[in-house]
């Protein structure tokens, strides 16, 4: 059906006008929302005492409360806001880690190690804003959604044997927290890809463009973390961090200084990532690179007599920083130093390549947690064993507290053990400096959820009080090894089974670092996180428990043997029932006789024929 051209044109014009109006309305709506959404990116570089370098990437996206912005997002990833709305999440943290954080060398007291030293594999915990009865089902759906989102097998945390609900050992809550860990989960590029896709500039521009995958995965430790906090008043704040410890491959290698000591390796961003930073992500509110010089180095610089600027007797930074911040601790004595570079000032013609060159050999150490917590297995054989946890004093406490008799240091231990390692909690023993102590002397509070076969893991939350003068404490727990059903064994069952890391926290020690900023408008989320009051935490090792494995070829063997036995039985039975012994031989003999007779007959017939022909011819 054809309309007259003038009507068609008018209709076209009206529809175009309507479309323009709609677009304008939408644009204004998004503009309102966009004004409140923010994205900042930061990178912190720090030299470590054992000739390595730490790089910490920090990306923060924030979205205003849903009621104000509706469902349109400009910078904030929609997948995350949908996740928060669907599962009613108030807090969530998901980390993917490979490698072990070296607490002795890299520190255990500062906010970096407290927040970013994570157990190997995947760790997921979430606090839900739901009635307690619905949380387990929501947790299951959450694990599946996250496994699809991050290309990892997080869905293995769905069953009740894999997650636990600590009340105060991990984080104080009213029962709406769920915690799960997968120690054996591999972490590789496929986990980083979707993580980067949540950033507005992905890895194409800004600080994330430095992430050269072979460099990241060649490191000694890498941990990518997603942390989100959601509330009705503040909206959603999403923090994505990637912490990498790398060995810089410098040309100089191990240089000997004229004094005879070994120089620390001089490195730069190009050495670490094979790339320079050529500009910021254009939609980011601020984009900064920090170089943190630890207290240990600063003290050495002070001792050498110069003041801590970017160019002093001990080291020199390759580019002059835009600002330098000094940490103030409680005693108003300067500790660490922070040098700041604003990426806004750099572009592809003048890329940013922050680096540090050492002038004099230097040895320093990072502040450690009051006790070095480690865990190991005892016992042999496939029937039973013991888990032992040791706390070795690092000498920190002596500086901070007096050594009177009432002095004690609190430690909170949180441990989840899978059901097939059946821990006997009554067998808990405590040894302080080699002497056995009564449990009531050391354990202040303990909450245990014993394991149930194939249903629940064993959860233990303990509050311990150690005397300040203690050097070494050891806790032991006995366990029996359980049996799994043959279908429950993984394909590589002979490797063993993992007990996830235990968390040890020291509630009396506060790990925060305060860098007072000159500009109140330019608050850096990274430094804000550093300022937050957090307790000093450390994770122990993952334990590998060899369990008895069945002979996996047995089902095949059983079928083969059974079939053979049955075949022999039925074969013999049928033979016994149907075969007549001797009848066969008689039958054969008879047949042979008949054949002989027939042959004889044939022969005689032929002879007779011969003789008859001879007689015939003779007669003729």
């Amino acid at each position: 059906m054809m309309m007259p051209p003038s009507t068609a044109r008018r209709l076209c014009f009206l529809s175009l006008l309507l479309l323009l109006l709609l677009l304008a309305a939408a644009a204004s709506a998004t503009a309102d929302a966009a004004a409140a959404e923010e994205f900042t990116e930061e990178l912190l570089l720090r030299p470590l005492p054992d000739r390595k370098a730490l790089a910490h990437f920090h990306f923060r996206s924030s979205a205003p409360p849903a009621s104000a912005a509706g469902r349109h997002h400009h910078l904030f990833p929609k997948a995350i806001s949908q996740l928060v709305q669907k599962f009613h999440i108030s807090e969530l943290e998901l980390s993917f880690t490979q490698g072990r954080w070296n607490y002795e060398q890299w520190g255990g007291y500062d906010p970096m190690s407290t927040n970013n030293a994570k157990p190997p594999g995947v760790e997921l915990w979430a606090i839900f804003d739901l009635p307690l009865a619905e949380i387990d089902a929501t947790w299951k759906n959450l694990t599946h959604t996250l496994s699809g989102l991050f290309c990892a097998s997080i869905n293995f945390l769905e069953s009740s044997t894999a997650f636990s609900a600590p009340r105060w050992g991990f984080k104080l809550n009213e029962g709406n927290l769920r915690y799960g860990a997968l120690p054996r989960e591999a972490v590789c590029t496929e986990n980083l890809t979707p993580w980067l896709k949540l950033l507005p500039c992905r890895d194409k521009a800004g600080i994330a463009s430095l992430l050269y995958r072979p460099s990241v995965y060649k490191g000694y430790y890498h941990s990518q973390k997603l942390k989100l906090k959601s509330s009705q008043s503040l909206g959603i704040i999403l923090d994505q961090t990637l912490t990498v410890v790398l060995q810089p491959n410098t040309v100089s290698g191990k240089q000997l200084h004229s004094t005879g000591g070994q120089l620390q390796p001089s490195w730069s961003m190009e050495h670490l990532f094979s790339k320079k930073l050529s500009g910021k992500c254009l939609v980011s509110k601020s984009s900064r690179v920090f170089v943190e010089i630890e207290k240990g180095i600063v003290d050495n610089v002070d001792k050498a007599g110069s003041d801590v600027s970017s160019n002093n007797d001990l080291f020199v930074l390759s580019t002059a920083p835009d600002r330098s911040l000094k940490e103030l601790d409680n005693l108003e004595v300067q500790s660490s130093s922070l040098y700041e570079y604003d990426v806004n000032n750099y572009n592809s013609d003048k890329p940013l390549n922050v680096g540090i060159t050492w002038k004099l050999p230097l040895i320093w150490s990072c502040t450690r947690a009051p006790y070095h917590a480690s865990r190991f297995l005892m016992g042999s054989g496939n029937e039973r064993g013991s888990i032992a946890m040791s706390f070795l004093s690092t000498g920190l406490d002596k500086q901070l507290v007096d050594s009177s008799n009432d002095c004690s240091i609190k430690a909170v231990v949180f441990q989840v053990v899978p059901w097939y390692v059946k821990v006997y909690y009554h067998s808990l023993e405590v040894f302080i400096d080699g002497n056995s102590k009564a449990i009531s002397e050391v354990v202040d509070k303990i909450h245990v959820t014993p394991s149930e076969d194939k249903l629940l893991p064993g959860t233990m939350e303990m509050l311990l009080k150690f005397p300040c003068s203690m050097q070494l404490a050891t806790l032991t727990l006995d366990f029996d090894k359980g049996f799994l059903h043959i279908d429950e064994y993984p394909p590589d069952a002979n490797q063993g089974f993992d007990i996830p890391s235990a968390l040890v926290s020291f509630p009396e020690f506060n790990s925060s670092r305060s860098y007072p900023e000159a500009d109140p408008l330019f608050v850096s989320p990274l430094l804000e996180n550093f300022k937050e009051d957090g307790v000093v935490k450390s994770y122990t090792e993952v334990l590998l428990v060899p369990l008895t494995t069945p002979d996996f070829s047995m089902p095949y063997n059983v079928i083969t043997f059974t079939c053979t036995v049955l075949a022999l039985y039925f074969g013999s039975l049928l033979n016994a029932l149907r075969r007549r012994i001797g009848e066969e031989e008689r039958g054969l003999k008879k047949a042979a006789l008949v054949r002989e007779l027939q042959f004889a007959l044939l022969q005689s017939q032929s002879q007779m024929l011969r003789w008859s022909t001879i007689y015939f011819f003779c007669w003729i």
Partner: protein, 304 residues
């Protein structure tokens, strides 16, 4: 059986003429749908999917991972996006502690091409690659909580490439050293897919020992299957990389890639040229393809 007579060679001119006019499945882009006939009840081809499965675990099976990742890269390069690819890898090679080149997987000892790249998305990995999950992906029967990125959301207009590699034998494919996928399981799953209208055409490529036996039970129309070796033959690896320490690619996949690397998204090569490029002396096995099911569907299409 009838299909035993279909051996590659120039002896069936009519059949090969039909094949020559068929555009390569994986090279069809979204826009090149067949012209819809006004009265046709059959669906129009409007999307492509790929399901790539590596079923082997452990470091010495590096080449199976490299096979699958090579196909993944090829399929992505020639136009199928990550949302339409289901990649199942049974183990992690790129970030394996034994890998000297972290986050890199190579299929050639010259190390020119990093198959892992920067943007790989693996949908099922590690212990999740099981026969059950594989059949669930094919038939679409998942639990309600399973996310969309792990589902094969194909419809009756889909062309699907199903590539499987690993260790196999007479009528089975081994999954992760403790399970098997049997040929009749696969045939049943494909039959279910056909009944649920989950594909228009399906190309199955299998690179294992005695690969041709895996699709001997197929009966659904619209399925074209190619295996790297026949019953009683093994499929061999191509070469050993002394640096990584293991073989890095299998012969069948190596020659398949050699064919595809010459193409781009706009080429119009046909499956026939792919099949003709397989030389049994280079493969050390006979690449075997089964077209009888496909020929029936092909006749219907060509008649319109």
């Amino acid at each position: 059986m009838a299909f035993a007579r279909w051996v590659p060679g120039p002896s069936r001119p009519v059949l090969f003429f039909l094949l020559k006019t068929l555009p390569l499945l994986v090279l069809l882009t979204f826009s090149s749908a067949a012209p819809p006939a006004a009265s046709s009840p059959a669906a129009v081809h409007n999307n492509n999917w790929a399901v790539l499965v590596c079923t082997s675990r452990f470091w010495f099976n590096y080449r199976h991972m490299a096979n699958t990742l090579s196909l993944y890269r090829t399929v992505k390069r020639l136009g199928i996006p990550d949302e339409r690819i289901i990649l199942m890898l049974a183990d992690d090679m790129a970030c394996n502690p034994r890998n000297n080149y972290p986050a890199q997987v190579f299929n050639n000892e010259n190390h020119q091409l990093n198959l892992y790249g920067d943007n790989v998305e693996v949908d099922y990995r590690g212990y999740e690659v099981t026969v059950e999950n594989f059949l669930r992906v094919l038939t679409g029967r998942h639990e309600s909580a399973v996310p969309r990125s792990k589902r094969l959301l194909s419809d009756e207009g889909s062309h699907i490439l199903l590539y499987m590699t690993g260790h196999g034998g007479d009528e089975f494919l081994k999954f992760q050293d403790n399970e098997e996928l049997q040929s009749h399981d696969l045939a049943d799953a494909v039959k279910q897919m056909k009944e649920k209208h989950r594909f228009k055409e399906l190309l199955i490529m299998v690179d294992t020992c005695q690969a041709a036996t895996l699709f001997s039970q197929l009966q659904s129309p619209g399925v074209l299957a190619i295996g790297s070796s026949m019953k009683g033959e093994n499929s061999y690896s191509h070469h050993l990389d002394s640096d990584i320490g293991v073989s890095v690619v299998d012969r069948f996949t190596f020659h398949t890639l050699a064919f595809f690397e010459k193409l781009n998204m706009y080429s119009n090569a046909s499956l026939n040229s792919l099949f003709n490029s397989y030389d049994p002396s280079m493969l050390l096995s006979t690449a075997y393809y089964r077209m009888d099911l496909y020929k029936r569907a092909l006749n219907e299409v060509m008649a319109r």
